[in-house]
Amino acid sequence: MRNGNPTPREGREMAMMLRRLAGTAISVVAPVVVLISYLALRAAVPDPLPTHWGLHGEVNDTASVAGFFVATLVISAVLALGAVAAVWLAHSPLAGRMLAALLSFGAWITAAITLVTMLAARGAPRAQDVAMPWYAILAVVVVSILLAAGVWWVLPGRWEPSAVAPATSTLTLAPGERVVWIGHQHSTLARIFAGVLAVAGAIVLWLQPVVSIPLFVVAVALAMTSELAVRIDERGVHTLWGPFGWPRPSIALGEIASARAEQINPMAWGGWGYRVSSRGVAAIIRRGPGLVIERTNGPAYAVTVPGADRGADVLNALLVRERSAKDAAGQ
């Protein structure tokens, strides 16, 4: 913001920074909740405090109030700091986001347990008199999951705005024209392996039924990742997995910055099948041509498909058309 108005890129950078700060804030509040519940309720609770209940609601473990406070404060603070470190130090946004949500869940469940325990024990003369209702435990779990989901949701999918150039295409699409591009690919090797494993599983089923289960699971997993189709239309990009074309994850056109074709080396993206790595998310059937999609807010997505250069051209043409429609509407 050197001279008044921020550029779109600076605006996006600012938005990402704010989202990371929000994710940090949600995590850091957890130990503060521990601290506040101790300061507000320590005089009203019995010492020692009940810390564990049996199946029938009887108290079967206690701890001193100070000891309980120190332990929960340390645990929630360490986990919250871990979440903050994941937000600001992680190399990959995807891993950072996942780790931050997980650690934040830990910090929040600790804080919620502290708060609920103190509230349940409030006013009780002895630890043995404290009852822990089932809905309190449910609330602890649900609230912690919601807050962790909030951390996941608020954190951006990438740490910096993508530096990719705006999409350009050799195709020009008329405003009302409808297009669909469909590419399909299968791996014969994976199909053969899946078939062999399924047969092996069937044979083993007679001898060792338990051993046949992992064989069948792997056979199904291989069959599902032996084949995929890519559909590009004005709604976005859909990846149709397996012989039934399901599941079919999609990326909306509005989330796509640009597309390009690339020779995909499976090892660079973490291997074969559905992969998540520091480079992004990839759906890989075999080495060869692939479509690489840069998202406006999220990791890159790669999918192997024959004729990827044509597919990228079609997708970029759709992006160009959408952009010019937006420009026209904005004026």
């Binding site: 699409l173 008329a174 009302g176 024209e177 409808r178 297009v179 669909v180 591009w181 469909i182 590419g183 399909h184 189709a229 559909r231 590009i232 239309d233 004005e234 149709l240 074309g245 004729g307 044509r310 079609v314």
Partner: protein, 129 residues
């Protein structure tokens, strides 16, 4: 493969689907034996009725361009000669161009005969019958 249709065109959507496939085969994008995308996916991508796509595929089957099998879907016929198809495509374009100029089919036949007899192109207007 790429399908492009224009709903505002006077040409029917099924015919546009068929024309796309013909063009892809004539242009070498689809080879004999290649499979066409499932009609369901084409229809949902173009946001049109699946029966429209199937009608386009049925036209191609009737023309001998593709085979339709219940389980295996649509496949370009293995005995198809793409260059013959390209010629058919050119004839189709020619008749359409002639129709736009107001030429009748007979006028066109006469012009084609003359061109063939002359062994090259001719600029003669057809005789008014």
């Amino acid at each position: 493969m790429l399908f492009r249709v224009d709903p505002s065109s006077s040409v029917g959507l099924a015919e546009q689907i068929a024309a796309t496939v013909r063009g892809a085969v004539a242009g070498g994008e689809l080879a004999p034996g290649d499979r066409l995308p499932p009609a369901r996916e084409v229809a949902s991508g173009l946001d049109i009725n699946v029966h429209t796509v199937l009608r386009g595929y049925a036209m191609l089957r009737d023309e001998g361009v593709i085979e339709l099998r219940r389980r295996r879907g649509a496949q370009v016929r293995t005995d198809l000669d793409p260059s013959t198809l390209a010629l058919h495509q050119q004839i189709r374009d020619l008749t359409e161009a002639a129709a736009r100029l107001g030429w009748g089919v007979d006028d066109l036949v006469i012009a084609v005969r003359r061109a063939a007899a002359a062994g090259g192109s001719t600029n003669d207007e057809p005789d008014e019958a």
